[in-house]
Amino acid sequence: MGRVGVVLCPCELEGVPLFNPEVLVEGLKRRGDVLPFIHYPPVCSELGMEAIRAFLEKSELDRAIVTCSKPELFGPTFKKALRQWGLNPSLSEVLGIRPAPERGGLQEATGDVLILIERKIDEIRERVPSKSQGVPFTKRVMVIGGGITGITASIDLGNAGYEVLLVDRLPSIGGRMLQLSETFPTLDCAQCTLTPKTVETGQHSQIRLITYAEIESVSGEVGNFLVKIRRKAAYVDWAKCTGCGLCQEKCPSKVHSEFERGIGPGKAIYTLSPQAVPNKPVINRELCRYFTRGKCRVCEKVCPVGAIDYEQEDTFIEERVGAIIVATGFDLYPKEEIGEYGYGDVPDVIDGLAFERLLSASGPTAGEIRRPSDGRIPKEMVFIQCVASRDPERYMPYCSRACCMYTAKHARLYKHKVHDGRAYIFYMDIRSMGKGYEEFIQQGVEEEGILYLRGRVSRLFRDNDHVVVWGVDTLTGKKVDIAADMVVLATAMIPSHGIRELAEKLHIKTDEYGFLTEAQWKLYPVETGVEGVYLAGCAQGPKDIADTVAQGDAAASKVQALFAQH
């Protein structure tokens, strides 16, 4: 076996030397199996890259390590370069060197780095060249998450001629956007803009939908990922089902519907909407009368094609793909955890997505705004922004980005439907940075008389048929009391549940809140630390639809660029 090349980058991270280069080179030279190489200026410069290439070529090495202080930034560049220079990716590595949290002097730090590098050398020497060199590069993509982001990326990649597997854990695609009524700043009907996209996805010859499914495990590497998918039992044979909807109509249960956010009841056998893609129902085992009480089987009796199958079990599928896009979206911070706003126990205090369902023409009230407690039309309507956002002490420190706009939209749509009502919005700052956004807000204020009150609401509670809101208007410096009929909380966006487990399976990182970490925020926004795994949308952090679509497109173009190299 030949020697292992070790390219040392003498970069000083933020002006602090990470090691003493001379001592390190001496230390490495003591081993006979290593060829150290150090180059000034830092190896990430053009001159540096050229120098490494010349070094590797001259010394005819087949195994190499490049050290670097910012592997998330330079890792992909080096890896690609090493491959281009003919090194087997499994026998070369970019090693991140960071200052130890409690390091002593430079001498100790150098010792630590030496140990780190030596360990890596030993590991690389042990490696057997991976066979993936010989295995053909699979030009298929898996998109995890069938929301607007995943749909966008899938259509792009499908149109580029690549085969796409679109996986969603819900029975149909469309994601959060399908729950929305109208979207800012143009007030287009969300379903009318989204449905053509979902239908296009469903009809696309290159896209295969794997819905009601979750990722079980992922192995392999770029060009050759092996993904095991668990297809949850739907208790309906989708091959037979025609999507006639009779089972839903006749199902006698009235159960909590997650899709309707508790605003309206759902059925135990359900599709998410009449325009669902695919338009095939599933049975919720926990809520179905037959599964819980052992009696019913109404759906089975009414199904004209005999598609109901109570014996169905989870199935497993294995798929080989070359790249993966993760677009798993968001959840809202549960209002049940917010004590000062009634722990979710005040019936007329709902969250933003629930209000979307109320506004939605296809929602439980057919778009009429009626409050949950008694069905009355609310005339004093309070909206509260930054609920559990921008609250580092107790909840989430970050800004959820979309709430300022969707709250303004909520208030405006409310005014469009209840002309004699008044909408009050409690806010801390108004962040309306997109195209046409500020104008949208000002139009609501000037033309529709939406009253913005600057301040956080300290408490709200039920008092007879009112919700009393204790707030402040810091513009006048006065404490404000509102006897509201209904309150909408713009709760923080958080990553969708299960994201950490998924990230672990993919070997990608999450931040402390569970949002997926991009390779680098500014220059590599849709790349992850794993080559061939990309991210997009709210899985990375709160975003509005416009931004999330742009990221879906970006991730798709990255995959195309990757595939074009092979």
């Binding site: 004093e380 009050y424 008389g449 513009l475 006048t476």
Partner: protein, 137 residues
């Protein structure tokens, strides 16, 4: 300190009257404070012009009318020329003055006959005219 915010109070009759007389939309105010920042007499006002607009919008009639802001206003139009939303703030001040002047039940009316001759000789003409405008309509 604590105010009621409701359909009855917000943008109430008083606020609408100010809007009607001035021809300005009180909702349009950003509350940026540019008017107050540039006003040459705001140092002597108990409420800045932007605060007066906010108070009007919230229907706080009493507090607006007892402030000295709109009487201090010299209609120099600095505020109007700088308002980013194009509000004519000087007109809003004038509208508030008019709201007061149009009230019948005023207690502070100026009776010309009660002014002594010595006072009339001493007082500057412009002050006398302003005084008549303020107190005798």
């Amino acid at each position: 300190m604590k105010i009621e915010v409701s359909r009855r109070k917000v943008h109430n009759e008083f606020a609408q009257k100010v809007e009607e007389i001035s021809g300005q939309n009180l909702f349009a105010c950003y509350q940026c404070g540019n008017c107050t920042a540039g006003c040459p007499v705001s140092f002597a006002m108990d409420l800045g012009p932007h605060q007066v607009i906010r108070f009007c919008l919230l229907g706080l009639e009493e507090e607006v009318l007892k402030s000295n802001t709109f009487w201090m206003c010299a209609s120099c139009l600095q505020c109007t020329s700088r308002c980013p939303k194009g509000l004519d703030i000087a007109r809003i001040m004038e509208a508030i003055r008019l709201v007061i002047l149009r009230k019948k039940e005023r207690l502070d009316r100026l009776e010309v006959a009660e002014l002594s001759e010595e006072f009339l000789e001493r007082v500057p003409q412009i002050a006398l005219i302003s005084g008549f405008r303020k107190f005798s309509s």
